[in-house]
Amino acid sequence: MSKPSDLIQGTLDLLILKTLSLEPKHGWAIAKRIEQVSHDALQITQGALYPALHRLEQQGWIRAAWRTTETGREAKFYELTRAGRTQLARELEQWERLSSAVAHVIDMA
């Protein structure tokens, strides 16, 4: 199995969960949102997004439903579950701990 992108897998999960914490979105919108917010700095291979979405759904962090978009098309929308929200909090905390640690090390050096 090829690696999803340059992003560490866990990071992609975090980004998806964070993106979905505002409102339910479909796959393309999630990709767009991540690119926009990161000012295109995080160019994710769009393809890698879907396996990640399916995995998160299988783990019960997010759930999917078919809804109609503003343009009247059927699309698969993902939203956070309650368990997903807890999971997001947990991952954020972990991420913060990691990044502050890394920042600390860099400052010290």
């Binding site: 990709a31 879907y50 078919w66 059927e74 698969k76 309650r82």
Partner: protein, 894 residues
């Protein structure tokens, strides 16, 4: 929402999703399609909005998304059901390849099925005999209680001692004694002998079984003169009393005496059999009646009741044993004479029942496991052979990007598939084999009635099949998948390099097969040798042409010893003059029927209290002639040895050797009395040859016989032995007629040919030998298949080389020698390793072999020769093919 509740809900969601993926596969796939298509369209529209042409926009969108098929595959991976898909695919593939080469499939499934079936059958015996719980509640707390002496390692108790131990102990919830004693039921049509046990109160409490109707015996029932009571088995209640509901309190006639029915046991009430006297196993007891006894409590030399007890909850067998030791010490202080040299021990009931069979069953399990290992090696070998011819296919698949793990998984699926088919066949075979095995089991084999195919056996078979599939599949799978696709593709499937490695692995496998087969053959050989020894050894009497039967005279009708003697006198006289009879005798027992009553005595002129003892029997004048026991010195009993004549005694050579070494025992006198009067001395008038105590041991304990008319303690049953001039089985009717002419109310029981008794008593070694022999046969056939497979493959591979050799002038014999020597190298290697292993393992068999050293050189060399011979034969066919091959064809086929 609390965390755990949330988690629970999450798991439900996960489960629902998994199931949906598994069972609505098409729907899920369609959704994924739609999802990705939607993504592409969105991206395309965005690209168009940015000013691209429609075609360029779509192309760019596709590029940004990446390979759609790959994404789909990855999504499926994420859904975790790919394994199942692959598995089904592999399974279908395995079935197809198997169907394509049916010969391969048949050989694989048959050999595996045979060996798995043999394992299941032996396992079901082990499960029934060793693993299944005894049919008593809380069976772990039940122990058998024995006395022990250096000459009698496990011996019955003395009833007075039993009574004292019962009243003094604090470790046992209940403790009971019993003794086998049959009763004759009459007044219900034809008289029948019922298999009966005399038991003390508490017997059923020890076992934890209550009468279905009525009540158990109480201690007052043990006193003589309180009236006779009896408890019936469910079977007798139904068969003899038509399941009468008013049976309790009814009067029945047993041994021509009135008994009151006290209770009826539930169906299937099993008596805990034992090894000392292999009596009833399973539902074989008909009646229980109270054990009564009297006599002088100061005389405790006579041991004839079996002890059994149920420990209190929380009391360990060791604690129980500890208290028994204390009580024994007390008894020894109180009655030193009767207890010196004796100890007491408690053994868990389960161990007592299955003890001696355990070793044999485990050896059998070991043997059958070896067969399975050989079959595994064989199967691995065949798999490798086939993998070699599929090298190219595998190379192509690996070149097309199949990862190695995927290839291994596929090949393992295939071997599992084959192994499970073999397991299925094995279960079918085991179903048949178990029936045959149980019918072959030696008579009185403990717990034979508990042997069935059951879920435990099925589970065992399934696990064995899975294990087998893994075992024989893993090596070929690793080996084959390791090959370099480039090389194999280039070589056009002939695979010189890969096949060298293959070939080496296959040679090792075959050598292993040969050595395992060697081990089994050595085992079988040792058992055959010991079995032959057993049959060839002189039993000490002549069992041919002898018919035996047993009678018990009801005390109500034969009140005095004279009445009984008169009856037997008359019967033997009539029998002796009956046509076809050459001699007729009566005695306490006949050889090899479990009789083991012993007594201590004093010898005239020796220190009293010294340890003299022997097994006592009674015999009529013609008893020895009827059984064919040789007179060594002196005389047999005669009509002159009457009740009031000088007490006469015949002893065996073992007794003469033990107590009168180097001197003549004839004319010596012994007594049972502590202060003997002149009439208490018994004079030795004859010495007879030794009869082996048991058919499968060469040992003979000291034994002596007194005339039936003079016996101090009459045995409850009398055995009749009749020697025929011709066919003994024709005398059965004669014996019955003669008995009924004298007393039509007597039941004639245990009518058997002495030949059959002798035969039955070697049935355990024969059973073990038969099975080990069967397994060894299977093993050598498997090994031969293995050798044949490897050598014929090698001949095919070397066809070109061999052709070249012949073309260059090698003689055909050289080719033959070349091929044969390759096979011989395998066989020799296997034999050497096998013999070393067998030497190490044969010691485990020591208890099963008889009068043969575990390192018997004859057996070992014959086995080695046999294996090499079979290997030669297996190599010969391919070697001949190589020798006769046309070199031109071989060369051209390149």
């Amino acid at each position: 929402m609390p965390e755990n509740q949330m988690d629970e809900r999450r798991w439900w969601t996960v489960l629902r999703l998994r199931l949906r993926t598994m069972f609505k596969r098409r729907r899920v796939d369609e959704e994924l399609d739609t999802e990705l298509r939607f993504h592409l369209e969105q991206q395309t529209q965005e690209n168009i909005a940015l000013g691209m042409s429609a075609a360029a926009a779509r192309e760019s969108a596709l590029r940004r998304l990446g390979g759609v098929t790959q994404i789909q595959e990855q999504c499926r991976d994420m859904r975790r059901t790919n394994y199942l898909d692959d598995f089904l695919l592999d399974l279908r593939y395995a079935a197809r390849t198997l169907a394509k080469s049916p010969g391969f499939g048949v050989v694989m499934i048959l050999t595996l099925g045979l060996s798995i079936g043999a394992n299941s059958a032996i396992f079901s015996v082990i499960d029934g005999v060793l693993l299944k719980r005894l049919p008593y509640p809380d069976q772990k707390r039940i122990v058998r209680i024995f006395y022990s002496h250096k000459d009698f390692p496990s011996f019955p108790m003395n009833p007075f001692d039993f009574r004292d131990i019962r009243s003094r102990n604090h470790s046992f919830e209940a403790i009971a004694a019993f003794s086998h004693r049959d009763l004759q039921l009459s007044g219900q049509g034809q008289p029948v002998r019922l298999s009966g046990f005399q038991v003390t109160s508490g017997y059923f409490s020890v076992l934890g079984i209550r009468p279905e109707r009525g009540r158990e015996f109480e201690e007052k029932d043990e006193q003589k003169g309180n009236g006779s009571v009896v408890i019936l088995s469910d079977r007798i209640w139904r068969s003899e009393f038509a399941a009468a509901p008013d049976i309790i309190g009814r009067k029945v006639t047993l041994d021509n005496q009135p008994f009151i029915v006290l209770g009826v046991m539930p169906p299937g009430t099993a008596h805990p059999g034992n090894e000392y006297q292999p009596v009833a196993y399973g539902d074989t007891v008909d009646v229980w009646w109270p054990f009564t006894f009297d006599g002088n409590p100061a005389r405790r030399g006579s041991h004839y009741v079996e002890g059994i007890g149920r420990l209190k909850p929380g009391v360990t067998p060791e604690q129980g044993q500890g208290e028994l030791n204390t009580l024994m010490a007390q008894l020894t202080r109180e009655y030193p004479e009767a207890h010196t040299g004796w100890s007491i021990f408690a053994v868990p009931l389960h161990r007592e029942i299955v003890g001696s069979s355990q070793r044999m069953l485990l050896v059998l399990l070991g043997a059958v496991a070896l067969v399975l290992l050989i079959a595994c090696a064989n199967a691995a070998n065949l798999m490798l052979a086939r993998a070699a011819s599929r090298q190219r296919e595998i190379a192509v698949r690996s070149a097309l990007g199949a990862p190695r793990s995927r290839l291994i998984r596929q090949m393992l699926t295939e071997s599992m598939f084959i192994a499970l088919l073999g397991g299925g066949l094995g279960v079918a075979l085991a179903a048949v084999c178990v029936k045959v095995l149980v019918s072959l089991l030696p008579a009185g084999f403990p717990r034979a009635d508990a042997i069935h195919l059951n879920p435990a056996v099925f589970a065992f078979t399934f696990l064995v099949a899975i294990g087998t599939g893994l075992l024989f599949g893993i090596a070929p799978a690793l080996q084959t998948s390791r090959s370099d696709p480039q090389l194999n593709l280039r070589e056009g499937g002939r695979g010189a390099t890969g096949s060298v490695r293959h070939h080496r692995l296959r040679s090792v496998l075959v050598a292993t097969e040969v050595s395992l087969a060697c081990v089994l053959l050595v085992g079988a050989g040792l058992m055959l040798r010991s079995f032959v020894n057993l049959l060839r050894e002189d039993p000490g009497f002549q069992p041919e042409h002898v018919l035996t039967a047993s009678l018990s005279l009801p005390q109500a009708d034969y009140k005095t010893d004279d009445a009984a003697s008169h009856f037997y006198d008359q019967l033997l006289r009539n029998l002796s003059s009956a046509p076809g009879v050459s001699a007729a005798g009566a005695g306490s027992d006949v050889p090899w029927t479990g009789y083991d009553d012993n007594a201590g005595f004093d010898i005239e002129g020796r220190q009293p209290g010294e340890d003299f003892h022997g097994r006592y029997h009674a015999a009529s004048p013609d008893y020895f002639r009827a059984l064919g026991m040789p007179l060594v010195r002196g005389r047999f009993f005669t009509e002159a040895d009457k009740k009031d004549a000088t007490p006469a005694l015949i002893i065996n050579e073992a007794m003469a050797r033990r107590y009168w070494p180097g001197v003549d025992a004839l004319g010596r006198r012994i007594t049972f009395q502590t202060s003997p009067k002149e009439k208490d001395w018994m004079t030795i008038v004859g010495i007879v040859g030794d009869v082996k105590d048991q058919a499968d041991s060469s040992h003979t304990e000291p034994a002596f016989w007194w005339p039936v008319v003079q016996q101090p303690f009459a045995s409850p049953t009398t055995s009749i032995a009749v020697r025929a001039k011709g066919d003994a089985s024709e005398l059965a009717g004669v014996v019955r007629d003669e008995v009924h002419k004298l007393d039509p109310t007597l039941a004639v029981a245990d009518v058997r040919l002495m030949d059959n008794i002798a035969d039955a008593s070697v049935s355990t070694p024969r059973f073990a030998f038969f099975l080990i022999g069967l397994f060894a046969g299977l093993a050598i056939v498997l090994a031969a298949i293995g050798i044949y497979g490897v050598i014929s493959y090698s001949v095919t591979q070397r066809a070109h080389e061999l052709g070249l050799r012949v073309a260059l002038g090698a003689q055909r014999w050289d080719v033959l020698r070349l091929v044969l020597s390759e096979g011989m190298r395998l066989a020799m290697g296997g034999v050497v390793v096998g013999v070393i292993c067998a030497l190490a393992l044969a010691r485990a068999m020591r208890s099963l072999i008889y009068e043969v050293g575990a390192a018997d050189p004859l057996t070992f060399s014959l086995v080695a020769l046999l294996v090499v011979g079979v290997a030669l034969l297996a190599c010969y066919l391919p070697a001949r093919r190589a020798m006769l091959a046309d070199p031109v064809v071989a060369l051209r086929s390149e």
